[in-house]
């Protein structure tokens, strides 16, 4: 599905005369001077879509720029259908794509995509969505160490559930297992389409343990239905009484996904700086701060080539882990 949503408010702002809008860009003239197109390579309502609409909304409502932004959804094949389309738009700084590192890199490997991220222009890493390892309230496991002990003794008896096959959740589990010398193929991980399905598996007692984003899990955590063993983030997550993997000495094994924005290949350094400048203003706006808060995301600003470096590093990690899991062959 693909929708064009010219952010209504942005349109209204433009109609009422855009002179009072935004600060001028200092780098080389008037970027952006025409409408931007932001691609979300997933369906409406998903994480990538929320991020794309968040950026479009900030451009309009918070008057970051006096141009329209259109969000297009091109879902399919782990985001690689959208990626293949996006890669063709060489040299156009008005085309942006939202993604997040591990999910998209995994999608590329799993779907044997001929296009990868290395040719695209990195704009910025924006945010991370912490994930949590949870068990049902009746579970005997009180901490992650005990769970990993059980897993080491009898890998199949610890049944994991989480998001998609080869997604960030499964990779984190693979990382944790590796730390205990458990072969990746021994892990009993049941992938789901996320949210509801994995929650059902956890609450019904079918799965031993689940891994998902804090945003998805929070209502059940607050209601006391789920117990958090650990969170995968830099700092503890407000309102959740559980140690981070780092505190438990397990941080090194987790590959944590970084959400960000890419532009097509073939942009000049100046053009790249223009886009980075624009996204920098977006992330400083109060609209974007609300988006972060609403989705339990934390900011992680990595402009330009810093983001490119993260992508290159994680590409190696992701390919290695997926190879061990027997995926992408």
């Amino acid at each position: 599905m693909k929708i064009r949503l010219a952010a209504a408010v942005a349109a209204a702002v433009t109609l009422t005369g855009g002179c009072a809008v935004g600060e001028s860009t200092d780098a080389g003239g008037a970027y952006p001077s025409k409408a931007l197109s932001i691609m979300a390579p997933g369906s409406p309502g998903g994480g990538w879509d929320t991020r794309a609409r968040g950026i479009a909304g900030a451009l309009g409502e918070c008057k970051v720029a006096d141009v329209d932004a259109t969000v297009t959804n091109v879902p399919g094949a782990g985001g690689t259908i959208g990626l293949a389309q996006f890669a063709k738009r060489t040299g156009d700084p008005y085309q942006l794509m939202v993604m997040d590192s591990v999910t998209m890199l995994g999608g590329i490997v799993n779907n044997k995509s001929p296009v990868d991220l290395s040719t695209l222009t990195p704009v910025a890493g924006l945010s991370r969505g912490p994930s949590a390892v949870v068990v049902a309230e009746k579970s005997p496991y009180e901490d992650l160490k005990a769970l990993l002990d059980a897993m080491e003794a009898k890998p199949h008896s610890v049944k994991w559930t989480g998001g998609s096959l080869g997604g960030p959740g499964q990779m984190t589990v693979a990382g944790l297992a590796k730390g205990r010398d458990i072969a990746a193929k021994e892990i009993n991980f049941v992938p789901t389409a996320g949210g509801g399905e994995s929650m059902n598996l956890l609450l019904s007692g079918a799965a031993t343990v689940g891994i998902d984003t804090v945003a998805e899990l929070r209502p059940q955590i607050e209601a006391g239905e789920l117990r958090v063993l650990s969170v995968d983030s830099e700092q503890r997550v407000p309102g959740i009484d559980a140690p981070t993997m780092k505190e438990l000495g397990l941080g090194g094994e987790a590959v944590s996904t970084l959400a960000g924005v890419l532009a097509p290949a073939g942009l000049s350094k100046e053009q790249q700086q223009d886009v980075i400048g624009l996204i920098d203003k977006v992330r400083r706006s109060s609209c974007w701060k609300q988006v972060l808060e609403r989705n339990n995301w934390t900011e992680d600003w990595k402009p330009g080539d810093e983001f490119g470096k993260v992508l290159a590093e994680q590409r190696t990690q992701v390919t290695a882990i997926l190879g061990e899991l027997g995926l992408g062959k």
Partner: protein
Amino acid sequence: MDVLGNLLDGFGHALSLQNLLLAMLGVTVGTLVGVLPGLGPATTIALLLPLTFVFDPVGAFVMFAGIYYGGMYGGSTTAILLNIPGETASIPTTLEGYPMARRGRAGAALATAAIGSFVAGTISTVVITFLAPGMSNIAKLIQPAEYFSIMVLAFVTVTSLMGDSIVRGLSSLFIGLTIGMVGIDRMTGQPRFAFGVPELYEGLSVVAVAVGLFAVAEAVSTAAARHRPAQPPVTVAGRVGMTREDWRRSWRPWLRGTLFGLPIGSLPAGGAELPTFLSYNVEKRLSKHKEEFGQGAIEGVAGPEAANNAAFSGVLVPLLTLGIPTSATASMLLIAFQIYNVQPGPQLFDQQPVLVWTLIASLYIGNVMLLVLNLPLIRVWVKLLSVPPALLTAAILTFATLGVYSISQSVFEVLIAYGFGLLGWVLHRAGYPVAPLILGAVLGPLMEVQFRRALAFSEGDPTVFVTRPVSLVILLIAVACLVGPVVVRRRTKPALPAG
């Protein structure tokens, strides 16, 4: 019993002039987007989300509830009139609704769909009103083994769809199962029947397949028959609405459809596909007019439409009580909640009573509005069928193409729809029923994934299906459905040769 008090409070908030107008607007917009190809209710709510900045939460939710119900009902209109199922859950409606329309009974089909949706929607809303918090506990009882057993039951009842020849019926079913296997296996990442084509990695879109098998095949069939005497335009037979006989044949399917739709829709992995197909199969089994099925039996519209609407109401249970959206439309509603800084979940009823009860009250209002709007519209829709068949066929083909393209934005899927159109025509000419094919394509992948999950969780022990009591009971019912008719037949007609 403060549920009633809360509900009345909810009505107090929802029944302002502004909110009633918004409900009317929502139902109208919803019906329109349901009828027009391409814009589903989820997309419409996505487009209208910015309105949440203008209205108070109550107003916005009243309108969204209207769109939600209207879109669902509008989808059945194209299924009945044009043979185009807009979504998987409308496929069973197409099976009987379109033949009814061809026989000049479109008015009755639309009416039983509208009234059935209203009955199911109202009953479901009443049940949700009183039981929603408790219903979320169902989620704790149902594991993959139970889901699998429910699927087995659905497949066992499929025998009623087989038509005259078991061999042809089974062939059709297995073609469907194969179609369902196309794409990347979600448990192992292995591509199946994808032949290296990236567009096939996500599997074949069931909507494109169904639109092909029904709408495009119909157009091909008309074109192939052009040397035969032209069919006269469809004339409305008898009265436009439902006759006394129609009412008598519809009310039980409505109630049974609700009975399937609500509990299955309330499950976090339930959805609307399973109950609508189950309802269709069961109605065919129970009907005293079995010979009419495939030719336009009203039970085959009444049951699935009620099941569809009940399932969509059921979707609100996991959404409100667990914070889990189980359909695209539900996830848009969840986003709307979050824009108002409301997080649905187990504590929602305690933390946001006004909002929840107003939403529930607006569901009642939306249901009534839907009926008020759509019953008079039936006369308008029925007129559509009086255009000459050639023009109608052209319109069907146009709408089918537009619909598939605008849902997917992909020429590839349009080609799939056309390919299945040809296949559907060939199957039809050769006397193969298409209903088992669609059922296999829709339920096959669901059943497979639940089977493999159940085994993964039992560490490979297949007895999990019979050691869990709920699963065992459902499997026993399935066995009874399969064996029962044979036994009964032998007892009552001992003279006939067994078979």
